[in-house]
């Protein structure tokens, strides 16, 4: 059989166009001749491929026709291509979102940090009580232990020296005045003068005036005969020389200055402004005029401004005391108005006064 005939036969075989007898003959031929069988397999495979290829081509072109027809009939929506900008936006939408988030987070973080680290431009007042560091406390406890091995300790156990301020006697019997903020949150108050400690208790806390009256309740305390200084109700004039005593350290510290304004922070009429060096620990310290008369109690200073120190005027001590005297127990408290150190040289004045100025220590 010729190749061309054989191929024709294969094609008819594949299409199923062969008759019964011819088909049987063909099968027989394949079985008997492996070469022919090989040819049949190869050709049929190829023809199948070719037919499939043809079918697909047909189908593709018919799809194309269908598409055109449907588009014309309006059964499928034509799409207007969107502007390029939108495409770009869509394409990089995620990238933009990420970038924007990062930028946002950085901006917020930086502004947050700036706000945190930039000194606050709003003037503030700072209360001048002294916060005692932990280490200091430890040392204090140790020295106390050494010193108190001979004496009874006044410091309760498990309480630590937290804040320090200054206080001074208003009555020789053992009444002191200091700032209310100095003894704020205190569990135990210890006052100290010339290295000797006395236990004290608050008998009046006047938060409005930021004043506190303490009473020394300690058997070791020997009342003074009289106080060397007096209290001035009328206040002081601008430019008047003043001096202060206080405990910004564990040692008494002298400071000198002048009256600079008759009102306090933001026009507060209960206090006055003085120009003097003041540091944490000075709170509650007395402010004297040059006659040795108390004109106020040093209490606060303005932050960020040098030399703006505020003192509660002495008049308020009188008022506070009057309130206290409504309670009959404290009827006998008297505030001296006459100063016995008037006209003395400053060192002599201080020598007389310093015994009456106490370091106020609060324990929590």
């Amino acid at each position: 059989m010729e190749d061309s005939q054989l191929q024709d036969a294969v094609e008819r075989f594949l299409k199923g166009e062969m008759g019964e007898a011819e088909r049987a003959h063909f099968e027989q031929l394949r079985k008997s001749n492996p070469e022919i069988d090989q040819f049949v397999v190869e050709t049929s495979l190829f023809l199948t491929r070719l037919n499939e290829f043809g079918d697909r081509k047909q189908f593709q072109s018919s799809l194309q026709e269908i598409h055109t027809d449907l588009l014309e009939a309006g059964a499928i929506k034509p799409v207007v291509n969107k502007a390029k900008v939108t495409d770009l936006f869509k394409k990089y939408r995620r990238v933009w979102a990420v970038a924007a988030s990062i930028a946002g987070i950085i901006a917020i973080t930086i502004s947050g940090l700036m706000a945190y680290f930039t000194p606050n431009s709003q003037p503030q007042i700072e209360q001048l009580r002294r916060e005692v560091s932990r280490l200091k406390t430890q040392t204090n406890i140790l020295t106390n232990e050494v010193r108190d091995s001979a004496k009874i300790t006044r410091v309760p156990q498990n309480e630590i020296f937290k804040f320090g301020g200054t206080g001074f006697l208003i009555d020789a019997k053992g009444y002191l005045v200091t700032n209310a903020h100095v003894i704020k949150d205190a569990k135990t108050i210890i006052v100290q003068s010339r290295g000797q400690e006395f236990k004290a208790a608050a008998v009046k806390i006047d938060l409005d005036r930021d004043l506190a009256i303490l009473k020394i309740e300690d058997r070791d305390f020997k009342p003074f005969a009289s106080l060397p200084y007096g209290f001035k109700k009328t206040g002081a004039d601008l430019g008047e020389q003043i001096f202060t005593l206080g405990f910004p350290r564990d040692e008494i510290v002298y400071g000198e200055g002048y009256m600079s304004a008759s009102t306090g922070f933001n026009g507060d009429t209960m206090s006055c402004q003085i120009a003097v060096a003041a540091n944490p620990g000075n709170s509650g310290g007395p402010v004297f005029n040059r006659n040795g008369e108390v004109i106020g109690i040093l209490s606060t200073r303005q932050t960020q401004t040098q030399g703006f120190v505020f003192a509660v005027t002495a008049k308020n001590i009188f008022k506070s005391l009057e309130d206290l005297k409504k309670d009959t127990v404290y009827q006998d408290i008297k505030m001296n108005t006459l100063s016995s150190v008037k006209g003395m040289e400053r060192p002599q004045q201080i020598k007389k006064i310093e015994d009456c100025v106490f370091l106020v220590k609060t324990y929590q």
Binding site: E52, R56, F59, D87
Partner: protein
Amino acid sequence: MNTAIQEKELLKGLAKNDKKAAETIYKDNYNMVQTLIINNNGSADDARDIFQETMIVLYEKARSGVFELNCQLKTYLYSVSRRLWLKRLQQLQKYHGRVESMAETVPVEEEIENHEQRNTQFLAMEKSLMSLGEPCKSLLEAYYLQKRSMTEIASSFGYTNADNAKNQKYKCLNRLKKIFFAQHKNNNGQ
């Protein structure tokens, strides 16, 4: 149930080259696929290409005789289109992570793989045909692709009779076969 029967009928029609069936499927599903492509960085042309390729996958599946649709036809077409478009995006390196899909999908990995194999085969066939030259190419196309009868071909190509044309067709087919298998070997050898 009704839709399932209808869809079966459509697939039968599609396998039998019924143009009406193909048109119905086309009309019912094209817009859905177009929306998917457009919403995922594609153009209308991309949508047409992808959908027509999907239709071919369906067509060849339907013709294979072993195809059983386990889900809605719509879901199947959507899944195939989505997969094809993902592949296309990856090739274009435009792919960034995901193709938004609102509709449910079914796994169609196998289909796509088969389809790609066939694609390479057909590409080889097309290449062989191209390198065959005229008039062989036209002759074979007329007979095997357009399914015209031998007498018709003989008259349009100017052969004196159908037998001559048949003889010529035989020679051409032999040449094509040689080219095709040579290429096949080359491809396998690579």
